[in-house]
Symmetry: C2
Subunit: 186 residues, 2 copies
């Protein structure tokens, strides 16, 4: 079907779908990679050709260039933490999220799986470095930049994790509220 839809892409999609479904059903730890592969009609080896690890299926880290760009748009004379926070806020507003559910599902799965939490937290590493680099490029000292970026991204993740757990506000609202904390609008 769809001739040039790239076999690879379809296999990857099948693997990811199968994985999330099985994880949701039986739990992450109780599900083996072999089971996931089998459910996707494929070998374990193939799984690892598409995802570097079992964890990667749940948390993908596509260093968000939108966030970095939005940080760049903030006035450079703001304190680094505020600049980073406002950048993330702007990026989120620019990004039209049509449906909260998928985001919530994945974060929620990670949140309730102890072995996944660290990975989830680390999943923003690339974006964090991008933000820090941007701050440095605009004159912030490296140390201050790294700290500010780490604080903002950690805050964001913490907010999302809490939201996925038991909050029933909209995703957009949660992000705004989370960043308010960082900008210390007491």
């Amino acid at each position: 079907m769809t001739p040039s839809d790239d076999r690879r892409a379809r296999t990857r999609a099948r693997l990811q779908a199968a994985a999330l479904e099985l994880f949701e059903q039986h739990g992450y730890d109780a599900t083996t990679v072999a089971q996931v592969a089998r459910a996707a009609g494929v070998t374990e080896m193939t799984f690892y050709r598409h995802f570097g690890s079992k964890e990667q299926v749940v948390v993908d880290d596509p260093s968000d260039p939108l966030i970095v760009a939005a940080v760049a748009d903030q006035p450079p004379d703001l304190p680094p933490l505020v600049r980073a926070a406002r950048g993330v806020r702007l990026a989120w507003r620019r990004l039209p999220i049509t449906d909260d559910a998928p985001v919530r599902t994945r974060i929620s799965l990670a949140a309730r799986t102890p072995s996944l939490l660290p990975v989830m937290r680390a999943s923003t590493a690339a974006t964090e470095e991008g933000v820090a680099a941007r701050l440095v490029a605009d004159g912030t000292a490296p140390h201050e930049a790294a700290v500010a970026a780490a604080a903002v991204m950690a805050a964001l993740m913490a907010g999302l994790v809490r939201w996925a757990g038991d909050d029933d506000a909209s995703l957009a609202d949660v992000v705004e509220r989370t960043l308010d904390v960082v900008e210390a609008i007491s």
Copy 2:
């Protein structure tokens, strides 16, 4: 020797020493648990009786009650982020660090080992929860508390990791400077 020095404690110490030395020499990933155990004159099984995982030897997480207490000492009418940051700052001042070197060695090892970074970041989880709980107890909303605690602890870790990497300031100075960023003393 030292009759009642508890065999268990000595074994644990030997294991930890052997581990850190081997990790330092050959790298974390290239060192197997079996090698560590052997170097400590003990079995792999015994290693796991003392440390829950290979990672735990490097990053121990003793939920710092000092920090939580110090947060409690901050005026409750401050914005949560500032309150948390000042708490951490105070705790660090109260804590007399005699020698930076050991701290630096461990953080540095974790920093230059990709597979350890997530764990290192997660190693403050217990403290983070403690701080959040303290904030909630004093009237902060749970969401805001969780976010503030996460931001501050992440900032602290980021500062330490950078310091261990290439900064040669004193540990105390780095902590102060790191927290300055969070308190947005522009």
